[in-house]
Every structure is written in structure tokens, then in C-alpha cells.
Amino acid sequence: MADLRSEFVGIRSPNPFWLASAPPTDKKINVERAFRAGWGGVVWKTLGLDPHCVNVNGPRYGVVYGADRRVLGLNNIELITDRPLDVNLREIKEVKRDWPDRAMVVSLMVPCDEASWKTILPMVEETGADGVELNFGCPHGMSERGMGSAVGQVPEYIEMVARWCKQSTRMPVIVKLTPNVTDIRQPARAALKGGADAVSLINTVNSITSVNLDDFSPEPSIDGKGSHGGYCGPAVKPIALNMVAEIARDAELAGLPISGIGGVTTWRDAAEFMALGAGNVQVCTAAMTYGFKVVQEMISGLETWMDAKSHARLADIVGRAVPNVTDWKHLNLNYVTKARIDQDACIKCGRCFAACEDTSHQAIWMKPGRVFEVNDAECVACNLCVDVCPVADCITMERLPAGAVDPRTGRTVSDDHADWTTHPNNPSRVAAE
């Protein structure tokens, strides 16, 4: 059986599944239920200095649905904890005492001055918590007050606050990044410079999920008005995966531990984050949608997959996909594929035809009897037909072997690597040796 025990910046947990700092982790009663369900650790809902925050008293979530009201994306306008600091600290201490084998990280957000950070850190240390996460990500409400993503968008601030924190605590410091930036490597580099032990990402994405077309108010509507919220859930996973990969493959950031967050919903998502360099993952929306029990599917799924692939421990999978993330210019232009439609699996819906004919390369024939076939002389191998086909594995991409002639270009396929850097159409190509 694969060993799922995890050690992230020295913090041990029985598995790599932590609950992200959010409503699932905002009090003892939830966190204990989560631990009973099997979660490996939590990042406690972000603490601030008293007087504590208040939340709106109307709806704080918006939603984007897929088929059958499946939650694809959630957006929220919730602020950091709305309970007094001492209540949270007391509960954190109690939970850590009763669940010593689980990771207990405390998320923090206080004003951007040294005194505030130096006030709160010893209080957290006193609870016995394993580490702190600096919330530089919250994109709504708190950012209007110069905290959260307002800090996370200025690398100098990140570096400064990280340094203050490292100077005043023995606990590992994780910096949580906002995705609401153009280049995620800049804030990550700042965190590293400030001495942070790790980064976690992503926090939520600036968003408006929908507009009420009766009263023209953005949702969630508070008395007819809405403000942008933070988007999370399965819809943000691709954004998060890319940002994790950008950090993982950056030479300046080599070795910086990453806690992967954003749309983790199944074991498979978790495995993908870890393959792209995340040492562990944090989950919020999946737990908020389905309850704490989802972790059991994540644990057993990860174990089953690792066993099937003979990966004995997490270290065997972390970062395995990173060397395969490259720049476009290095992609092999001699890799030539064609779409193939399995006529036995085809249910004749014609979606591939509509997609290719209307919006791609007119490379699918619709023949009498609703028989759909690929015209290799037109197929550019874009993959759209594969993506829109409702039947898994009905349309696949087949590589043309070296020596074959691509009927579209009339050229013989070579098994040499050839990419844009050496392509004759590239004005700044490097001459081939």
C-alpha cells in the first residue's frame, strides 16, 4: 500500500489533504469533524486583530453551475474570521492538543505594519500550532483596507512582511499568493527573498458570477448591490495548475515548497497538482459542496493510483511533470497526429462534424447514414473533435509514423525533433548546426 504520509516544511500529517483556510476551518466543531472524517490537516480560517471583522448579513456566495446544478465555481464576499481572537486561539490550542498527529497551520492577516505582526505571532505560537500562513490573497473587502491581495500584489510588501514574520517566530511561514497578478513568479520570488519557507496558491480569483436580470444587481445581491468576490472551485483549477507549474519550473525558485490550492475536488486533481510540484494540497470548495467525507475518496483514490503505478511514497510523484512543462517554442513540430473516429463507439450525434465544419478545418465528412470520417488531407490535429465528443475514447489522436506522408502538407514525417527555434519561418531562428 502506498505511503501517503506527508511532511511539508517540517509539518507532518497522515496524508497530503489539508483543508484550506475558509469556513470549513473556522471553528473547533468543524475542524474536529474534519479530522474525524480523515483530513490530514487544516489551515485555520484567517485570524486578524480585534476588533474582529463583521460579515454581510445577506448572501455571501455566488455560483456557476454545470449540468444538473453541479457546482463548477463558487464566488464569495466573506471576510476573515468574524469571531474574537481569543476564542479562536483557545480553540486552536484545544484542537491541536487533542489531535497531535494532524497539521495545524494558522492563517493570519493583520495591517501592514511590523507591530501588528509582532503582536499576533507569539499568540499563535502559544497555541502549539505547527505553522502560519500569511493571507496575501483575499481579493475582496480586506484588500480595500490595504490587506490581503493589496499586499499580495506588491512584491516589496510581501518580502517585507515575510521578513518580519521570520524574524519573530520559530514557526514555518507559508505565504499564500493571490492569482490576481500578471506574473505569479514575482510575488513568489519576493516571498522567497523575505525568507518564507513555502508558498501556497491560489487564493480566489476576482469575479462576478452572474447578474440578476430582474433588478440588474450582481449576485450575490446585497440590497440590490453587489461587489466583486473571489472565485474558486473546479473552474479555477486550470489557472491554479498553471501558476503552480510556473513557480515549480522557475530557476530562481528552485526548491521552494508549494502547497497547491484551487479546485481540488478529486484524488486526480490532487495528483495533478503534486505532479506539477505541489508538496501537498489544500481544499475548500469541494468540502463546502459535498461535506468532509470527500476526503475519503481522495485518500483511497490516490492510494489506488499510486499502487497501480508502483509509486511508493509522495516524493515519488511530487514534481514528476515539471520537466515536461516547457515553452511553446520547444514543442516538437514533427509530432504529426490525425483524428481517428471509432465507428463502433460512435453514437452519431454529429458534434465533431459541427465543431470541425463550422469552427475548425472542415476535416470531417458527414456521409450517408450519419457516418462521420476524418479527412486526413484537411485535419490539422487540433483535438476539438475529441474534446466535444460525448463518448470517451470514441475519437482519438493517432501519430503518423516516421516515413509516412502527411496528406495535408505532402511532407514526409520525420522522427527528428524540430521546433520553432529552428523553423525557417522564424525570423529570429538559431541556425541549425
Binding site: 453514437i347 452519431k348 454529429g350 458534434r351 458527414m366 450519419r370 460525448p390
Partner: protein, 445 residues
């Protein structure tokens, strides 16, 4: 006193009236809003969708389902009704398993088609509940068209003509319009007076006058209509019932199934409707299935359908057959009636076993007798040409071209009375609509 269920012969009140009410309740109630969205989400929005090809009225099914999905069932209904003004009835009575749903690619994918019929009902019910029929008339043309028969074919024709601004008079022999929607379709498919409500809703477009109790052939001739109107459409359905040709057919207790069904449909107290304790239905179509199933629902103890060929040859779809079986009907195949036996009233039917041979059906040499207090003949209806109708015929029906033109200038026909259809509500609607377009073209030209 024997229990009502066991009363011999033909008797009313075999079941308590609450049981009858329950038995005749809506067989497939309207989907709820959530169910509808879940069902709609399954549609793949196919290219050149096979379901549309399979619908005789060519409703744009993927489009209307997407409209339901996006929260606009009334827009969905307009998509449906613009092709098929009786989309509400069709949603209830179409054998979707052999039409649209039979062609659904999800039937191929997982043996479970998108529930097109029920989604269609969801949309049309929503629109009908919300208000009047949504079509406006073009400016009046001053042209007048006579439509004979207020069944699905005649109504569809009249409505389409009215939208084009023509004035229509429908001559209908029966006291109520609707045709078999009102007098034939199984009661549990269209409860709650839906057939009349739909006719009223349809007629609200205006420009259509319905004269009931006016039969072509009885004081009204085709020549008179041709003279008095700019065009004539015949949608008279099938007026006669095929004879059994078996000995004892005249005994009391032997009856046409369509007549029994019409009486059932017009009854406002089904517990007062007499039915046999043991019922034999002869035939293999929708009428046989409906007569048998509804006999059971009225409380008949034993109901057997006897069909002369194999199960697969029955014209009632497999699904319809299963509906009958689920209601406790027995289906026996490969037997033909020889004689109805009984003194003064039917007591049983003697059948000969049959087999399919190289030159057709032949007797297999053995017989059996089923006890029966009531025998329903459902071996098919046929066209009964009225007096003075000298139209060219094809296969016992009025010969028509693709748009419904008959051999006589200015006369169109469609629905069950015209050759080439499938004897379904939806084909009658399609033919009525297409004939209206042809008439409109002819009048404009």
C-alpha cells in the same frame, strides 16, 4: 350477493369509484421544473439531429430543449408549436419510442433517450398555462376555406390557414371537435379535459368557425363545398371498422373497440360504464391495446388480446404492449377467431392457431376457446367514402401527393383518410399543416 368484481356478464361498478379515479389518472404526469432541467441537460444538441428527422412534424428538438435548459419553457413551446400546433397533445400521445426518442443518440449510447416527449409536455403546458396561443393572424385575405373534420389533421390545417389570414369553416359530423383526440385516445394519456381545452386554445387565434353536427354526405356535398369556398380540405379520418367475418359476430356482447372507447371517453362517471368480467380483444394495434388496458382499469377480471400473427408484427409499439401487460392484460399471438360462441349473448370465442407460412398466414390445425362476456373487435379501421365523393383512391384511402392535393382540383386531404400516412396524431398534424401551406400557395398564386 357476489362482489362487484366477480359479477358475471357485462356490468358497471366493478371497482369503487376512487379506484377508477386512480386508475385513470395521468399516466405520465408533467415533469417538475427541476426534473425538466435535469432531463434537458442530457441533450447533446446534435448536429442535424436524428430526432428532428424522426419527428413527422420536424420540431427543432435540440433547440427547444436548450430553451428549457436556459430557463425559458415558453420560448421552447413556441419552437414546438410553430411546427406542430397540437404539440401539447402529441407530447402525450406520440409513440416517442418509435419516433424522436427512438432516434435519440443517447438511446444508442446508453439505452436511455432524452425524455423528449415529457420535455415537450413541460414546455407546452407552461405556455398554455400562461395564456393564449401565441400566433397572430396575417391581415385577412378574404379567401375562404372549408375544412371537413375537426380531428388533428383538420385543426392543424385550419390553424395554419388562419395564421395566413384566410377564413376557415370547419364542418364536423360529431357534436364536439377534436376527432380521436376527443373520442379515441386512451383516457389516461389525456385526462382533465385536455383535448377540448387544447381545441379552445387553438381556435382562439380567430378566423375559424366550427359547425358541429354537419357531416359531409348528409345534406352537404363536396360539390357544394367546392362552389362555396376557395378550397376544401378533407380530414375525415377513418369512419368505418373492419368486419371480423366470423360466425356469431352479431351476438350481444360483441362490439367495435373504437365505439367502446368513444363511450368511455365521453363518460363523466366511469364507474357507471359497464364492462365484461372476461374480455377478449381481437386485434394488434393501438386500439386493441387501449381497449384492453382500459377494460382492466374499469375492473374486468380477465382481459386477453388475441392477435393473428407474432408479437413483433403487432402495430402497437413494444412500449404500448408493455403498458398493457403492466396493467394486467394477457397478450396471445398466432391465433385467429373462428366464431363467437354463446346462446343469446357472447360466452366465448373459438380461435384457430395460426402459423406464418411461405404464402402467408395459415391455420396450424388446432383450436382453443377463451371464455368471454364481452368481445371487442379492433382489427383496424378503414376509410368510408361519403356519398358524392368521387376522388381517386389508393389502398382504400384518398390518393394525395406530397402536399395533400387530391385528384380533384381545389380539394386537399390529410390525416388518416389520406393514403401514405402512419395513422398517428402527429402525422395527421403534419399533413394538415402541409396541405394548408399548399392551399395558401394556391390561393396566393
Amino acid at each position: 350477493m357476489t362482489a362487484p368484481l366477480l359479477t358475471p356478464g357485462i356490468a358497471a361498478g366493478r371497482l369503487p369509484s376512487e379506484a377508477i379515479t386512480r386508475n385513470f389518472a395521468d399516466a405520465h404526469p408533467r415533469l417538475g421544473a427541476h426534473e425538466a432541467v435535469v432531463a434537458a441537460d442530457r441533450c447533446y444538441f446534435c448536429h442535424d439531429a436524428p430526432c428532428v428527422t424522426a419527428c413527422p412534424t420536424a420540431i427543432d428538438i435540440p433547440l427547444f430543449i436548450r430553451q428549457i435548459q436556459t430557463g425559458l419553457p415558453e420560448a421552447a413551446a413556441r419552437t414546438i408549436l410553430s411546427q406542430n400546433i397540437l404539440g401539447g397533445m402529441c407530447a402525450r400521445v406520440c409513440p416517442t419510442e418509435t419516433l424522436c426518442e427512438g432516434a435519440c443518440v443517447r438511446e444508442a449510447a446508453e439505452g436511455q433517450p432524452v425524455e423528449i416527449g415529457r420535455l415537450q409536455r413541460y414546455a407546452t403546458d407552461a405556455l398554455m398555462a400562461a395564456g393564449p396561443q401565441p400566433f397572430a393572424r396575417a391581415p385577412q385575405t378574404g379567401r375562404r376555406v372549408a375544412v371537413v373534420g375537426a380531428g388533428p389533421a383538420g385543426l392543424a390545417c385550419a390553424h395554419r390557414l388562419a395564421t395566413h389570414g384566410h377564413d376557415v369553416t370547419i364542418f364536423e359530423a360529431r357534436p364536439k371537435p377534436g376527432g380521436l383526440n376527443e373520442y379515441g385516445i386512451a383516457a389516461y394519456k389525456t385526462p382533465g379535459g385536455f383535448a377540448q381545452a387544447e381545441v379552445d386554445w387553438l381556435l382562439a387565434i380567430g378566423g375559424i368557425t366550427v359547425e358541429t353536427g354537419r357531416a359531409l354526405g348528409a345534406g352537404l356535398t363536396l360539390d357544394e363545398l367546392r362552389e362555396g369556398f376557395d378550397a376544401v380540405f378533407l380530414g375525415v379520418g377513418l369512419g368505418a371498422v373492419n368486419a371480423l367475418g366470423a360466425e356469431g359476430e352479431g351476438l350481444p356482447g360483441v362490439r367495435d373497440a373504437v365505439e367502446f372507447i368513444a363511450e368511455l371517453r365521453q363518460s363523466d362517471d366511469l364507474s357507471a360504464l359497464p364492462v365484461g368480467r372476461r374480455v377478449v380483444v381481437i386485434g394488434g394495434g393501438m386500439t386493441a391495446v387501449d381497449a384492453a388496458a382500459q377494460s382492466r382499469l374499469l375492473g374486468a377480471e380477465d382481459v386477453t388480446i388475441v392477435y393473428r400473427r407474432g408479437r413483433e408484427r403487432m402495430s402497437a409499439s413494444l412500449w404500448e404492449q408493455e403498458q398493457a401487460l403492466a396493467r394486467g392484460v394477457t397478450i396471445r399471438c398466432n391465433a385467429r377467431p373462428l366464431r363467437v360462441v354463446g346462446e343469446g349473448a357472447a360466452r366465448g370465442v373459438e380461435f384457430a392457431y395460426t402459423e406464418e407460412g411461405p404464402d402467408g398466414l395459415r391455420d396450424a390445425g388446432e383450436t382453443f376457446t377463451l371464455p368471454a362476456d364481452q368481445v371487442f373487435k379492433a382489427i383496424g379501421q378503414c376509410f368510408a367514402p361519403g356519398a358524392g365523393m368521387s376522388l381517386e383512391m389508393a389502398g382504400g384511402k384518398i390518393a394525395v401527393d406530397a402536399v395533400g392535393r387530391t385528384s380533384v382540383a381545389g380539394v386537399w386531404a390529410g390525416g388518416d383518410c389520406a393514403a401514405g400516412g402512419d395513422d398517428l396524431t402527429v402525422t395527421a398534424v403534419a399533413q394538415g399543416r402541409d396541405a394548408a401551406e399548399s392551399i395558401h400557395g394556391a390561393l396566393a398564386g
